[in-house]
């Protein structure tokens, strides 16, 4: 299983509709709206890189998405 963060920059005023669409996507484990350099962080969980490309593609197709940066998780420590 591959996990990745997809950091998204949005065009102003399009976030609400874009998030509704992102919530329907398969392989999306978590979505956070954040304040700062990025607007949305999506955590994707996929079986292989092909599926990750598929998720990234679908996100880039959503209206209002200006730019995505994908960060593949190599190692993780977490409380939960």
């Amino acid at each position: 299983m591959i996990s990745a963060y997809i950091l998204i920059t949005m065009h102003p005023g399009k976030s609400d509709k874009a998030i509704k669409e992102m919530r329907q996507l398969d392989n999306v484990a978590k979505i956070s709206i954040i304040a700062g350099e990025y607007d949305i962080v999506v955590r994707a969980q996929v079986k292989n890189l092909e599926e990750l490309l598929d998720v990234t593609d679908k996100i880039q197709m959503i209206e209002g998405v200006s730019k995505t940066t994908t960060q593949i998780i190599e190692k993780e420590i977490s409380l939960q």
């Binding site: 963060y5 999306v28 978590k30 998780i73 190692k75 993780e76 977490s78």
Partner: protein, 417 residues
């Protein structure tokens, strides 16, 4: 479907409290039966004994596959696959939780058997929330904030007021049992149930149905042992009385009803323990006292119980207690700040060492090493931004491997559960 985790957490915890309130009503009826009224020890054993059987049956039914997915996964816990043997990695936690549950039950029984009206004494068991805050500050590397302490104190005192009775009397020994036996054992029990829930078994999140099943098995075993030794030293026959009552068809049916309902309350409670701290869970669980009141009124109307105070002074005290519980829970719910920290590090330093330094910072809940623009993405939770600065940013500044970082507060989030 990706939903807001916060909503699910509170829904699970409050639904669990609602079911637990229904169980409390049934418990008081079952506990009032001739076989148990004068012998709370046999009542405790019978509950666990019949509970083990009924939990096994429910768990087996929930293991039935429908369209490739178990019934339990569809209706209770998506992590549940089927009933399985306890794994080596979870054995220690199950033993500790089982021993604590058994000692807790024995402590509770000793109070019920020695005090005529135990409600005054048992209301102090709500202080367990404060025990949990203290223990979590050690085990979960998260020192409670002023807001958490205030909310916990509000809920605790609210719960005491809402559950207190003016008809009982203060006695030192039973109060000592509450403070030294009942509360610490419940706190350790909750923490180990949470540890079990956040474990990964066979590369998937541990499920609350197996946790509940194995907990009741271990609790039954250790309770039987404790009552056996108690009988041995006091020449009593509580264990035998418990077994006899358990196999009586009428009592079996009543016990099966109460423990069958308890199963669902616990499964939801364990699920919510996997999402939030044990202290916050127990604070929300204090709402059981509020839900118990309508159930008590219904049972009074049905003639199943005979005692429920309608004294105006008592009712005012209880209402004040309930308002405090609700305020405390809302305060918990509204005061949590989460953030991502994106970190770039200097080259020539091992990433694993930096990862450990980041993980050691209080309030850090996730550390990930990532390939791409940033070297680390760290997730933090804090009750206030000031605490975020003092406990997290200052510590980041001390890590010399870090070249630059930026903090981005989470405004709203959703999670697939």
């Amino acid at each position: 479907m990706v939903i807001r985790k916060k909503y699910l957490f509170y829904t699970l915890a409050i639904t669990s409290s609602f079911i637990a309130a229904a169980v409390t009503g049934v418990d008081s009826f079952v506990g009032g039966q001739p076989a148990f009224k004068t012998d709370p020890w046999s009542f405790a054993f019978s509950l666990f004994f019949v509970g083990s059987i009924i939990t096994l049956l429910i768990s087996l039914i929930l293991s039935i596959k429908i369209h490739g997915k178990s019934l339990g996964a569809k209706i209770l816990d998506p992590s549940f696959k089927n009933l399985r043997m306890v794994q080596k990695s979870e054995l220690k936690s199950h033993i500790i939780a089982g021993v604590m549950n058994a000692i807790n039950t024995v402590g509770y029984c000793s109070i019920v058997s020695t005090v005529q009206d135990p409600s005054v004494i048992l209301s102090f068991s709500q202080i367990v929330i404060l025990y949990l805050l203290l223990m979590e500050s050690i085990t979960e590397k998260d020192v409670p904030t002023l807001v958490e302490v205030q909310s916990s104190v509000i809920v605790t005192f609210g719960a005491i007021l809402a559950s207190i009775s003016l008809t009982g009397a203060f006695q030192l020994f039973p109060i000592l049992i509450v403070f030294l036996v009942v509360n610490p054992t419940w706190a350790v029990f909750s923490i180990y149930q949470r540890k079990l829930k956040i474990m990964r078994i066979n590369n998937r999140p541990n499920d609350s149905i197996n946790i509940r099943f194995w907990n009741i098995i271990f609790s039954c075993l250790f309770t039987a042992l404790l009552i056996f030794f108690f009988d041995l030293f006091t020449s009593g026959s509580h264990l035998l009385a418990g077994v006899t009552a358990s196999i009586d068809p009428y009592y079996f049916m009543l016990l099966a009803l109460t423990m069958g309902t308890t199963f669902f309350a616990y499964v939801l409670y364990i699920r919510s323990l996997g999402m939030g701290k044990a202290s916050v869970n127990n604070a929300i669980r204090a709402s059981t006292i509020i839900f118990a009141i309508p159930f008590s009124i219904i049972m009074l109307q049905l003639g199943l119980i005979t005692e429920f105070s309608t004294d105006p002074v008592m009712l005012i005290i209880k209402v004040i207690g309930m308002v405090l519980i609700v305020m405390g829970i809302i305060s918990f719910a509204l005061t949590l700040v989460k953030a991502y920290i994106f970190i770039d590090v200097k080259t020539g330093r091992p990433l694993k060492e930096t990862m450990q330094k980041l993980w050691n910072i209080r309030g850090v809940s996730h550390v990930t090493i990532t390939s791409g623009k940033h070297d680390f993405i760290v997730k933090v939770s804090t009750r206030t931004l000031m605490k975020g600065y003092e406990r997290i940013i200052r510590k980041l500044d001390e890590i010399e491997e870090i070249k630059k970082y930026h903090w981005e507060s989470v405004l709203k989030d959703w999670e697939k559960i």
